[in-house]
C-alpha cells in the first residue's frame, strides 16, 4: 500500500537549483487519505520512504525532515528553523521527522565536521523559498489575481488587497503541477523572523518528560536482546569458548561466535541472545572464552609516547606545508625555544552506550539506532550483506551523544550479522565497559614546536606531529602527511609569518582510532596555540597584541577586540591568572580567555571562561551558546580529568569510576559571545573545544609561572 502511495505521489525535483551531487527535492501529495496515514509518521511506520525536506499534506499538515543526526548539537531545531523562515510556516505548527539514510536524496548525511548547517543552508533556503513561491503562484491563479498582490505568512497565501487567505493545504495539489520557478527572492538577514533568534529547541519538551526515543529505547515486536563479549585486546580471535553455563541462565536463548569488522580487520566476539537485556548480560558473564591475543599484549601507553618523542627528535617527517626556510633561521637564532607537547588517547564516552536494533530478512534489512551517518551505514550494510541499497533501511533515533563514535560502522554491521544468524529482530546493547575498552579512540598525538624571535617578531616557526592517523585507517601506507596537520591553526598566520613549516612524522600502531569532537583541532590546537603563547613570552609581549600582528584580517581583529572587551583583558594585572587561545576549524574561529585563581584551599580554580565565536551566518544563538558551553566542559575533561591508557594491550579504564568525567562541581562559568556578520556559515558543534586547553594552561602559566605541555594534568596538583 505504501509503495503505491509513493508511485502516485507527484514528485517535483528541483534539480535545477542545486549541484549534481545533491538531489534535493520536495513533493506534494495528491491523495489526502493516503498522506494522512503517513504524515507525522510514528516510529513503526517509518518504513515509508521519504525523499524530501518539505511535505505539505492536503490537510495543511507541514512535515519537515531533519536529514542529519540529532546528537545534542541541535539539527532537529536548526534545520526546521531555516526551512520555516523561507517557507513561511510557524514552527509550532510543523512536524519534524528524521530522514532515513539516503545519499541520493539528501546528499551527505554524515553528522560530522560541524557540517549540517554550513553544508546545507543555502540549498535549504532556496528550496524553501521555491516551495513558498509555488504556493503563492497557485493561490494567485486560484483567485485569478496577480502574483505580486499575494504573499505568504504562517502557512497561508494571502491576497493583500482583499485580505483573502488560503491554507497551504488547499493549494498543494495545484502547486504540485507547477514548474519550479528558476529564480526566487531570498530574505535579507534583517528580514528574518526566525533565523538568528534564540528560539526554544523543538526537542526540548520531549527530553524533559522521557518521551524522546533514543536508540536503546527502540523496541520491535518479538525482539531479542544481545550482549557480546569481544576480545579485550582489540583485535584478537576466539580460540575456543564454552557457552554451557550461559545457556543455563534463565532467559538466555542462544550463544554463538560473531565477527565485528573494524576498519580492515575483524574482532571476534561471543554473543549471548536472551529475552531481556539483563538476561543477556548475565549470560555473558557466565561465558568462558579463550582468546588468541595476536601480539597485542605488548601495547603500552608509555612506549607510545617514548616512540613519539624519538620520532620527533630524529625524523623530519612528511612535509605538509612550508613557506620560507625555517631551518637555517632556527639554526642561527639566539632567542629560540624547542619544546614537546603531548595529548592523550580519549574515548568519546557518549552517555548512551552504543546499541543497534537490526532486523535481517531475506529481502530487506532494516536497522534503528543512534547513528551519525545513516548514508554510510546504508552503503556499508548493502556491501557487506549483498543486499541492494534500496532494500537497506537505516533509521536514526535521537542519539544520546555521539562526538564522532557513532559515525562508525562496526556496531551496526555486527548487529545485522547477529540478526541474520538468529533470523529475527535483535537489539545489541554495549555496556559502559565495552564503550571504554573497545575503542576506537581519539589518537594521542605528540608535537614538537621550534620557534625563534628576532626584533620582537617570529623569525621562524616549525611544527612536527607524531601520532596515529585516521586518514590511513584502511591502509598502513604513510606516504602522505596527515591531511589535517594544520587543522585548528588559523589560516591568517600563514599570511604574516615568513618562515613556517608543518610536518607529520608517521607513527604506526594498530590501535583503532578515529575522530573525536573537533578531530585534529582538539589536539593540534593545544600544541600550536600553547606554542604561540610561549613565543609571545619569549618576545616579551602581550599574548593578544602578539597575535594581532599576525592575524591581520578584519574578522580576526574584530574577534580579538571583542575578546579584550568582554574579558576586561586590558585592565587585568600581571600574574592574575589570565590565559588565551584562538583556534579555527570547520570554517569557524573561536577565541577563549580563561581566568584562574588560587583558592583558599590552595587549589587552582577556574573563575571564568569567556568565549567569542565567529561562525559567520548562523541560525540559533542559544544553541550556539549551548554548544560552546558544552565544548568547554568536554575540553576541560580531556585536559584535566580523563585519558585512555593501555597496559599490556588492555585498556586500563573500565567505567566512570576510572574514566572520570567533569561534574557539576567542576563547571566553570562560561560566557559566550557571537560575532555578528553574514559571512558564509561555519560550524558550531565542535570549534568551541580546541581553544580551551591552551587558554587554561596559559592562565595557569600567568598565575604560577609553570608551563604545562602534557595533557591531561591534574588541576588539583598545580
Amino acid at each position: 500500500m505504501e509503495t503505491n502511495t509513493i508511485s502516485r505521489r507527484n514528485f517535483i525535483r528541483a534539480s535545477s537549483l542545486v549541484g549534481t551531487a545533491l538531489c534535493l527535492g520536495f513533493y506534494f501529495p495528491v491523495n489526502a487519505k493516503k498522506e494522512i496515514l503517513v504524515a507525522g509518521v510514528s516510529d513503526d511506520q517509518a518504513a515509508f520512504e521519504f525523499n524530501a525536506w518539505i511535505r505539505i499534506d492536503t490537510n495543511g499538515k507541514v512535515t519537515l525532515t531533519d536529514h542529519r543526526a540529532e546528537m545534542g548539537q541541535g539539527s532537529y531545531q536548526s534545520v526546521p528553523q531555516i526551512i520555516a523562515e523561507e517557507l513561511e510556516v510557524d514552527l509550532k505548527d510543523i512536524h519534524v521527522i528524521f530522514a532515513q539514510g539516503s545519499p541520493t536524496k539528501y546528499g551527505s548525511q554524515i553528522t560530522g565536521g560541524s557540517s549540517t548547517i554550513r553544508g546545507a543552508y543555502k540549498n535549504l533556503l532556496r528550496l524553501s523559498a521555491t516551495a513558498r513561491e509555488m504556493l503563492i503562484i497557485a493561490g494567485a491563479a486560484k483567485w485569478n489575481v496577480s502574483v505580486s498582490e499575494c504573499y505568504a505568512e504562517s502557512g497561508h497565501v494571502i491576497h493583500r488587497p482583499t485580505g483573502k487567505k488560503l491554507n497551504y493545504g488547499d493549494l498543494v495539489t495545484a502547486a504540485s503541477k507547477l514548474p519550479a520557478p528558476k529564480e526566487v527572492k531570498l530574505k535579507k538577514v534583517s528580514e528574518y523572523k526566525l533565523i538568528r533568534k534564540p528560539l526554544q529547541r523543538l526537542d526540548t519538551p520531549m527530553k524533559t518528560n522521557g518521551e524522546a526515543i533514543f536508540g536503546l529505547d527502540k523496541k520491535l515486536p518479538g525482539m531479542l536482546y544481545a550482549a557480546v563479549e569481544r576480545n579485550p585486546r582489540l583485535r584478537g580471535k576466539v580460540k575456543s569458548f564454552d557457552g554451557s553455563a550461559a545457556l543455563k541462565v534463565p532467559g538466555v536463548k542462544q550463544v554463538f561466535k560473531v565477527q565485528m569488522i573494524v576498519f580492515n580487520t575483524t574482532r571476534d566476539g561471543v554473543v549471548v541472545i536472551a529475552d531481556s537485556t539483563w538476561a543477556a548480560m548475565q549470560g555473558r558473564k557466565a561465558l568462558r572464552v579463550e582468546w588468541d591475543d595476536s601480539g597485542f599484549e605488548h601495547v603500552n601507553t608509555s612506549d607510545i609516547y617514548k616512540a613519539h618523542e624519538e620520532l620527533l627528535k630524529t625524523k623530519e617527517g612528511l612535509s605538509f606545508k612550508k613557506q620560507g626556510e625555517p631551518d637555517p633561521v632556527l639554526a642561527q637564532a639566539s632567542k629560540k625555544i624547542d619544546v614537546i607537547y603531548q595529548t592523550p588517547y580519549q574515548s568519546h564516552g557518549a552517555m548512551e552506550p552504543l546499541n543497534c536494533v537490526a532486523h535481517y530478512q531475506s529481502d530487506k534489512i532494516e536497522i534503528w539506532g543512534p547513528i551519525q551517518a545513516p548514508d554510510w551505514v546504508q552503503g556499508d550494510i548493502s556491501d557487506k550483506f549483498k543486499m541492494p541499497k534500496e532494500k537497506v533501511v537505516v533509521n536514526m533515533t535521537f542519539l544520546g551523544g555521539g562526538f564522532g563514535r557513532k559515525a562508525f560502522l562496526d556496531y551496526t554491521q555486527e548487529a545485522v550479522a547477529i540478526s541474520k544468524q538468529i533470523g529475527g529482530p535483535v537489539q545489541v546493547v554495549w555496556t559502559r565497559e565495552d564503550d571504554l575498552t573497545q575503542g576506537p579512540y581519539r589518537a594521542g598525538i605528540s608535537y614538537r614546536g621550534q620557534g625563534s624571535i628576532e626584533n620582537g617578531e617570529i623569525s621562524a616557526l616549525k611544527f612536527k606531529m607524531a601520532g596515529q592517523n585516521i586518514d590511513h585507517w584502511n591502509n598502513n601506507k604513510r606516504d602522505k602527511a596527515n591531511g589535517s596537520t594544520t587543522e585548528g591553526f588559523l589560516k591568517s598566520y600563514f599570511d604574516n609569518i615568513k618562515n613556517i613549516s608543518f610536518a607529520d612524522v608517521p607513527y604506526e600502531m594498530p590501535l583503532p582510532n578515529m575522530w573525536w569532537r573537533s578531530v585534529y583541532a582538539s589536539t593540534n590546537g593545544f600544541a600550536y596555540e600553547s606554542f604561540i603563547n610561549e613565543m609571545a613570552v619569549l618576545a616579551g609581549q602581550d599574548q593578544l597584541d602578539f597575535r594581532r600582528k599576525y592575524l591581520k584580517d578584519e574578522r580576526c581583529q574584530a574577534l580579538i577586540d571583542k575578546m579584550e572587551q568582554v574579558s576586561g583583558w586590558k585592565s587585568r594585572k600581571k600574574n592574575q591568572g589570565f590565559g588565551v587561545a584562538i583556534t579555527e576549524c570547520f570554517e569557524t574561529t573561536v577565541g577563549q580567555i580563561v581566568k584562574v585563581s588560587r583558592h583558599t584551599n590552595g587549589k587552582v580554580k577556574i573563575d571564568q571562561v569567556w568565549a567569542v565565536m565567529d561562525c559567520g551566518w548562523y541560525v540559533n544563538p542559544d544553541i550556539i551558546k549551548a554548544q560552546v558551553e558544552g565544548s568547554v566542559v568536554m575540553g576541560l575533561g580531556a585536559a584535566t580529568i580523563h585519558e585512555i591508557t593501555f597496559k599490556n594491550g588492555l585498556v586500563e579504564q573500565k567505567n566512570f569510576y576510572d574514566y572520570l568525567m567533569p561534574r557539576m562541581s567542576d563547571m566553570p562559568p562560561v560566557e559566550v559571545h557571537i560575532m555578528e556578520n553574514t559571512a558564509d556559515a561555519g560550524g558550531v558543534g565542535e570549534p568551541g573545544l580546541p581553544p580551551f586547553a591552551p587558554a587554561l594552561t596559559d592562565a595557569i602559566f600567568d598565575l604560577t609561572g609553570k608551563r604545562i605541555r602534557k595533557l591531561p594534568f591534574n588541576l588539583n596538583n598545580v
Binding site: 531481556s276 557518549a350 544520546g400 549551548a626 558544552g630 567505567n655 561534574r663 562541581s665 563547571m667
Partner: protein, 156 residues
C-alpha cells in the same frame, strides 16, 4: 512474581528478583525514559524515586523494590509541568537529552529537601549525575529558576 508500583500503577512482574530495577522498568514495563548509562551507579542517568528517595535503578534490585512506590520521569507530572520541567524547558537545558531524566529526578529530591539551594548545595546534590554534553551551567540556572517558581507558587 514481584509486585511493584510504578507511577501509581501496580504491576505484577515475573522477573529474577536480582534484575536491576532499571531493566525491569525499561524492558518489562516499557518505560524508556529512565536511561542506562554505566550500570555501576556512577552517572545517575537511571535515577528514579523509590519511596520518594532518589536511587540509581541500575544497581537497585527489583526484589528490593517489591511492594514499594517507584516514580520515574514519566510519572513526575501529568503535563511536563513540574516546576523543574518548566524551568528545564525555559532554560533550554537539554542537548542530547540522554542524562536529563536522571538530572531532573535528582533535582526534584534536592528541591524538596532544600527549597532554596545555594550553588554549593547544587554542586553537592547534583554531582552524582554526569552530563557529557556539559549542560551543567544551565542545569544550575534551571534549579534556581524552579526554586523561585516554587517559592512564588507557595506565596500565591
Amino acid at each position: 512474581m514481584i509486585t511493584i508500583t510504578v507511577n501509581s500503577q501496580r504491576h505484577d512482574i515475573d522477573v529474577d528478583p536480582n534484575m536491576p530495577l532499571l531493566w525491569a522498568i525499561r524492558d518489562i514495563l516499557g518505560l524508556t525514559g529512565t536511561k542506562f548509562g554505566c550500570g555501576a551507579a556512577q552517572c545517575g542517568a537511571c535515577t528514579v524515586h523509590l519511596n520518594g528517595e532518589a536511587v540509581r535503578s541500575c544497581v537497585t534490585k527489583t526484589g528490593r523494590a517489591a511492594g514499594q512506590n517507584i516514580v520515574t520521569i514519566e510519572g513526575l507530572s501529568s503535563g511536563n509541568n513540574h516546576p523543574l520541567q518548566l524551568a528545564w524547558n525555559e532554560m533550554n537545558v537539554p542537548q542530547c537529552g540522554y542524562c536529563q531524566s536522571g538530572q531532573i529526578m535528582s533535582a526534584v529530591v534536592l528541591l524538596r529537601e532544600n527549597p532554596n539551594p545555594t550553588d554549593q548545595d547544587i554542586d553537592d546534590a547534583m554531582s552524582g549525575n554526569i552530563c557529557r554534553c556539559g549542560t551543567y551551567q544551565r542545569i544550575r540556572a534551571a534549579i534556581h529558576k524552579a526554586a523561585a517558581m516554587q517559592a512564588e507558587g507557595a506565596k500565591s
